[in-house]
Subunit: 222 residues, 2 copies
């Protein structure tokens, strides 16, 4: 029997996917979370994710796709020998780009979802994000949705609630959903593996902080 | 530096992908083979593939994606408790269908290829195959090609030399390529893990045998 109104969330325990998890809980009767290990430097990430999923009372699945980092180790997120780009290079993607990562993640999310009769998939990718990663763009997600449906003769629907939101608007959404404090204090966005407000100087922290300040200043004016 | 005229072949050591491997060797200056383990009942498969790749003098990569069979164990190829469908069921895909398998394989092939500067990918999928697996259809492959290019901002080209060939035509191609005897005696197609002519009664053996007989009778007439 197919479950109705159920969604599987691609979940890392960061600001974006945690906001998506609670967005999904608002819109679907049943929600499950899938988290991936892929050779990240910071194993704290999966523990943070597991804890948030427990607090949200959703089943938590942890899948090991570390193969992906073995295939292309030229990435600072998985290779300690590579120093992370702190600013966006003009001529290439930042070295935090793991080629094919979102495609691998979402394909496994779809396979797992299908085996449980779930056809709605939620991911926190955003085009408004600073990085310009190709696998965060709306065009990629739409193409992937069609490809997944053709691959498995199924009718998946991929939801991207953050696609057009910049970071301040993601904070606004968390606030709307009643999880502003949870997102602020319990999520891990920092590339250097420091919870909540993070290290303050990596690209992810800078982006998160700028978004937070913008949102708080906007809120104050209201 | 990007290699020119190089191809990565999705390779299992079966009749189809072995024929593709030699097709690739004819059309590209440099060829590499990627083989997958995913919890198959028959571990002989990867050893057969390794041996053929050595004979073809191409680099051989073995990737472990056994995660795929853990996600959806309702498949007779990976679950000993399930008896394989010997004939095609009228109302569903045969239980030899591993959902999402070709999508996972080809995505990892693309990631590996890209890390080596290779942009041509070869796969032995065929629409003429009996099974009607959705992830063997031309429409799926074309959609996947676009999605891979969008995911990694790259220009992969997926080649499917067997797409419109039935099994007798695959035997004809092997013969044209000068590897008819190699394919007949060294490949493993049988779902019961028996080399060359196989068990004779599983769907794969029946298909292979019917194609061989058709090709040999056609050849005799010429």
């Amino acid at each position: 029997m197919k479950k109705k109104n159920a969604a599987m969330v691609c979940f890392s325990g960061g600001q974006d996917s945690t906001t998506c998890l609670f967005w999904a809980k608002k819109h679907f009767a049943h929600v499950e979370a899938v988290c991936f290990t892929y050779g990240q430097k910071h194993s704290l990430e999966t523990e943070v994710a597991r804890k948030i999923a427990a607090e949200a009372q959703v089943p938590f699945h942890l899948l090991d796709v570390s193969l992906i980092s073995q295939l292309d180790p030229n990435c600072s997120l998985v290779n300690n020998a590579i120093r992370m780009d702190e600013d966006k290079p003009a001529d290439r993607y930042p070295n935090t780009f793991v080629p094919g990562r979102n495609m691998v993640f979402l394909t496994f999310v779809a396979i797992l979802a299908r085996s449980k009769g779930i056809h709605h998939i939620v991911t926190g990718v955003s085009e408004a994000d600073y990085s310009g990663y190709p696998d965060c763009r709306d065009t990629f997600i739409r193409s992937l949705n069609v490809t997944l449906n053709l691959a498995m003769d199924d009718q998946f629907v991929i939801h991207t609630p953050l696609m057009d939101r910049d970071k301040s608007e993601v904070w606004a959404l968390a606030d709307e959903l009643g999880v502003f404090d949870l997102v602020r204090t319990q999520t891990l966005t920092c590339y250097n593996g420091i919870l909540a407000d993070g290290c303050g100087h990596c690209p992810a922290c800078k982006l998160r902080k700028a978004g937070l300040e913008k949102y708080l200043s906007t809120k104050k004016k209201d």
